[in-house]
């Protein structure tokens, strides 16, 4: 099992986290329909590094972006998202 370092709680087992979706699949509220469709239904799905949105659901419940290699599971960055990350 992987270990993620939550920006708020520190290192925790992956079992505490839930995957949401990739960063590039978040539909902008003002996106034209064809862009929204593409964002909603297609993925880069790289056999390599991608930015993923995870949530520390069974911990502090905060959202974060995890940059992870999908073959080696190597994590290169974890950053908080949401209002608290802006301050």
């Amino acid at each position: 099992m992987m270990q993620f370092t939550c920006p708020h709680c520190g290192p925790r087992a992956q079992a505490e986290f839930v995957y949401e979706r990739t960063v590039d699949s978040v539909v902008a509220l003002d996106a034209p329909p064809e862009d929204a469709m593409r964002t909603l239904f297609t993925r880069n799905n790289p056999r390599g590094v991608d930015d993923e949105i995870w949530r520390h659901t069974y911990g502090c419940r905060a959202w974060m972006v995890i940059t992870r290699h999908r073959v080696t599971n190597e994590i290169s960055a974890i950053r908080a998202v949401g209002p608290e990350a802006l301050t």
Partner: protein, 418 residues
């Protein structure tokens, strides 16, 4: 290469079994093929076989980056059934199930298809209503489906926990008696041998690294064994669909995730059928060798790693033990995982792509094994004629933008329901 037969086996008994030959050739790639299939799993090999057998094509290659049947064909739980609710799905899988019933004869290779019954348990009134609805939908299209009472289930699978205090009380089941299991490796080997006998070149250790373009059209592939020209190219790479399509600049409605399964030590027969559940995500069957095979949920996060985490395994086993408490006495001996290309409506994608001469067969999620013959048959038709077979027409890649998704679980645009 000679046909396998009981007589041949008997004759071999008198000459030290010295007559056995390699089941398929190991050819060098030619400079050009009419059709190249990327991916030497069950689906790719079946496609090549039907292209040669049904459509009479002679110049076909299957390119495999590792060894044939080494991906998801060798990593599933071998379950074969066609009990889907939606018409396009159960029509396709039923076409396949009818082929499974004669596959060993057709391929001259024993795929050990064992129609022992595929049973979905119901744990509540709501479950039984859903199962009845699904059974009705199947029977309307001539597919066998029987609702079982609680007493019938108890008689059919005596080791199920039928007590009212059970963690998941059993109210009844929906059974497809023609469903069952098959020997997964034999499916790949049988198709490979049969295709090879019809002249298909099966080229292993040959990874596709790019596409050769002439204008907008694909006219060949770059591989680790050099450039190979092609009239048409068919992608058939399961979990790597997104990666290979990406080499052609395509983005697919799939996300690759890990699906795990596991098997116990071999014991005497204790599970008669394939046990599944309407509410749980756990499937249990017993292999002919005696091992009890478990499967469960995908890991639910993107991965190409062919390994998953213990939490998901624990969940599948916990459900299995709750249904069949006697399994707690067995030791788990082996686990494995495959990379599944989870499509965004849970249904496969078979058909043309926006790139000329390039075709796609993928998005099977974790349900591709059972479809192997039907997938090969319809994909061969699509590749040979350039137009989809009636059975795979609903599974076109552009169905998402047309709003024509085939969403069996009604879960919306997400890989896997959650």
């Amino acid at each position: 290469m000679s046909q396998y037969s009981a007589f041949g086996l008997l004759r071999g008994a008198f000459n030290g079994q010295k007559h056995w030959q390699p089941a398929w050739r190991d050819p060098q790639p030619k400079s050009h093929y009419d059709i190249i299939i990327i991916g030497g799993g069950g689906h790719g090999l079946a496609t090549a076989y039907y292209l040669a057998k049904v459509h009479g094509l002679k110049n076909i290659a299957v390119l495999e980056k590792g060894w044939i049947g080494g991906g998801n064909t060798g990593r599933n739980t071998t379950i074969v059934r066609s009990n889907y609710r939606l018409k396009p799905l159960h029509d396709l899988f039923e076409f396949g199930l009818k082929m499974w019933e004669h596959l060993s004869d057709d391929l001259n290779y024993n795929v050990m298809f064992s129609p022992r019954g595929a049973m979905f348990l119901g744990h509540s009134d709501a479950d039984m209503t859903k199962l009845a609805e699904r059974g009705d939908a199947m029977r309307c299209d001539g597919i066998d489906a029987d609702l079982m009472t609680r007493a019938e289930v108890a008689k059919f699978e005596p080791l199920l926990d039928m007590s009212r205090g059970a963690r998941f009380p059993i109210d009844g089941a929906l059974i497809q008696r023609r469903g069952g299991t098959a020997r997964h490796d034999a499916v790949a080997w049988g198709y490979a041998r049969a295709a090879d006998m019809l002249g298909v070149d099966i080229i292993q250790k040959c990874e596709v690294t790019g596409f050769v373009r002439d204008g907008a059209a694909v006219v060949g592939v770059e591989t680790t064994r050099g450039r190979i020209g092609a009239g048409r190219v068919g992608i058939c790479v399961a979990g790597n669909s997104g990666h290979v399509a990406g080499l052609a600049g395509l983005q697919l409605p799939v996300e690759s995730q890990t699906l795990q399964a596991m098997v116990t030590e071999g014991v005497k027969p204790m599970i008669n059928s394939v046990i599944m559940s309407q509410s749980l995500h756990c499937y249990i069957s017993q292999s002919d060798k005696g091992g009890v095979v478990f499967g469960g949920d995908p890991d639910n996060w993107p991965s190409y790693a062919q390994r998953g985490n213990s939490k998901v395994m624990e969940g599948a086993v916990a459900q299995g033990l709750a249904l069949v408490p006697a399994l707690s006495r067995l030791r788990m001996v082996r686990t494995w995982s495959g990379v599944t290309d989870m499509s965004f409506d849970g249904a496969p994608i078979i058909g043309e792509t926006p790139v000329k001469n390039l075709y796609l067969n993928g998005g099977w999620c974790y349900g591709g094994f059972k479809a192997t013959p039907a997938s090969g048959w319809t994909y061969a038709h699509t590749l040979a004629t350039g137009t989809p077979h009636a059975l795979n027409a609903p599974f076109a890649l552009d169905r998402f933008e047309r709003g024509a998704t085939i969403d069996e679980t009604g879960s919306g645009p997400m890989p896997n329901s959650r």
